[in-house]
Symmetry: C2
Subunit: 135 residues, 2 copies
């Protein structure tokens, strides 16, 4: 079951400059920063009520964020929805014909297991399913 | 003051088909539909925790949604943040150098006063400020 809109991810060229701009825009500083080496990104998070705004800068030209910016420019890269059981949701949505971009949940930022759904399955929107890791 | 991420807006070509797809994806049907004649759009809303997903279909080629889809294809069109005082936020952000797309708050969907900030001011993101209308 999908529970709530967890965050939006915004692809930026320069995280430091974007952190300053979004601190002014949103009226609050990022509450954490995190590198996700496996995805070749550095990220920062702003709390906006129940949801978050994530800024992402590529650390390698091979990063999906670098490719996104090269093709479309900076902007909203994905929207993430929190689920209670990511395996069950992946199975449900796969069976419904949605194209899952990873066959197994993978470790994302913010202590989450994540799975992405191809934009062609969702009116041009890159959708992330995420579930908090219990340790 | 900006309080929370209120909704994301997704530009779609066919609202009826997108409603069906997002009902399957999100596991819940839209809880309301609304035409905003002044903006030449029909919309639907899905509740996702505290935030909402808004789908928008243009009703005229002059609609900003039609132009967005023509240029970029379907996808996430804007992100909206709820504010407690839209006039104060417009003044604050204008003074900080953000480009406001309307000089006065205008009536948007979902019983809101809204103001848009130009994407060039916010790393390619079209930002909407919105405040619930008290009647």
């Amino acid at each position: 079951m999908i529970k709530n809109l967890e965050h939006i991810g915004i692809a930026v060229k320069d995280l430091k400059a974007a952190n300053e701009l979004y601190t002014t825009l949103l009226g609050t500083p990022p509450y954490k920063a995190e590198e996700v080496a496996s995805e070749h990104v550095v990220t920062s998070f702003f709390k906006m009520g129940e949801a978050k705004v994530e800024l992402l800068e590529a650390t390698s030209p091979n990063s999906a964020i670098a490719k996104f910016i090269e093709k479309r420019g900076e902007g909203i890269h994905h929207v993430a929805f929190e689920v209670d059981d990511i395996l069950a949701e992946m199975q449900r949505l796969g069976a419904e014909g949605f194209t899952l971009l990873n066959k197994e949940p993978k470790r994302g930022a913010d202590n989450k297991l994540v799975c992405f759904i191809h934009p062609k399955s969702a009116n041009g929107v890159l959708v992330e399913l995420c579930q908090e890791l219990k340790i």
